[in-house]
């Protein structure tokens, strides 16, 4: 495998916006041609770095992804793949099968799958290591937390439970992103009360954050400069948490995160 420099990684990611991929793929031939080459490079880079088994090498890829919030796009795609794959609706394979000839689309689709699955499977880009979930899981959640299949089930949280989540976020220094993610994901399981829960969480975060605020991740500190979660949302130009979530464009999302919005730590 050819050695890849970190500069090459940065340069490759400068020209690609994964979140715009679907839109441009359908309408822009020039973009198709450009991403064909760039995506080959990115996958080559990921493969090379992944094969090195050195987590530090992946920092450059991670940072490059974070710059354009692409990490969340890939993460959503990975969790969405898991969710869709367990849908038990059957399809008559032979009846619904068609043949077509579009090698470019197949290449892009094949590459995308490797990119999504590779990032998800690496367990470095995304915190999905189920083997250690007990250690990494201070918030008691069900296995389906990423993509709750119990959307219609009424889930309620007590103030005490939300306070516990807030404390976990503030004390879970190593896995801050993960703690925020899991917490928000949980609270969004009850869409009717999510605004109440989020403001309660904000309130507890304010109460429990310690004096030395610089010890906490910048994105958390920036978010807590707003007195309530509503204010935080409004400052981003949205009228409500629901609009915020909708505009963020996560088809399967039941969460927003402070960490991932700003690209994580």
């Amino acid at each position: 495998m050819q050695d890849i420099t970190n500069e090459e990684i940065k340069r490759a990611f400068q020209y690609v916006d994964i979140s715009q991929m679907d839109k441009r793929l359908a309408s822009n031939i020039a973009y198709r041609q450009a991403i064909e080459e760039i995506y080959r490079n990115i996958n080559r880079l990921i493969t090379a770095k992944y094969s090195s088994n050195n987590p530090e090498d992946l920092d450059y890829i991670l940072k490059a992804l974070q710059e354009k919030e692409q990490r969340q796009v890939l993460q959503d795609a990975y969790y969405n793949a898991i969710k869709r794959s367990t849908n038990k609706e059957r399809v008559d394979f032979r009846r619904e099968k068609r043949n077509a000839n579009n090698q470019f689309i197949k290449f892009i689709a094949g590459f995308s799958a490797v990119l999504v699955i590779g990032c998800g499977s690496s367990k470095i880009l995304f915190p999905i290591d189920k083997e250690n979930t007990n250690e990494k899981e201070p918030i008691k959640v069900e296995q389906t937390v990423y993509y709750s299949t119990k959307q219609n089930t009424e889930v309620t949280f007590t103030d005490k439970e939300i306070e516990k989540m807030a404390k976990e976020i503030l004390t879970n220094e190593k896995d801050y992103d993960y703690a925020v993610y899991r917490c928000f994901q949980e609270l969004f399981r009850n869409p009717l009360k999510v605004d109440v829960y989020m403001n309660t969480l904000f309130s507890y975060l304010h109460e429990n954050i310690e004096a030395n605020i610089n010890d906490y991740p910048q994105e958390l500190v920036a978010a807590l400069n707003h007195s309530t979660f509503d204010e935080y949302i409004t400052s981003h130009g949205f009228n409500s948490i629901y609009e915020y979530r909708q505009v963020m464009g996560n088809q399967n999302a039941e969460y927003v995160t402070l960490a991932y919005e700003s690209g994580g730590r």
């Binding site: 793949a81 394979f93 689709a109 590459f111 590779g118 499977s121």
Partner: protein, 76 residues
């Protein structure tokens, strides 16, 4: 290249891999290539169906195997 119509959306068949005597079909939406999913083939009354996987772990295992198989060839 083959497509399968799933709920009105054509999905490209990326690969078919047999794992533990079960055949898994890997798909990606034609117009949204990040939209990946896996189905497994079940045969009933002589007809082949694409069915959902049973557990998250089964999906994750199948995804890992796909990645291990394809990471090199697409990286060339």
């Amino acid at each position: 290249m083959d497509f399968v119509n799933i709920n009105g959306t054509y999905h490209i068949i990326l690969d078919e891999i047999t794992i533990n005597n079960k055949k898994y079909v890997y798909l990606a939406a034609e117009n949204s290539p990040l939209n990946v999913l896996i189905k497994k083939i079940v045969i009933e009354n002589g007809k082949e169906y694409l069915d959902g996987l049973d557990t998250d772990d089964e999906v994750i295992n199948a995804l890992d195997i796909y990645y291990q198989k394809h990471k090199e060839e697409i990286g060339q």
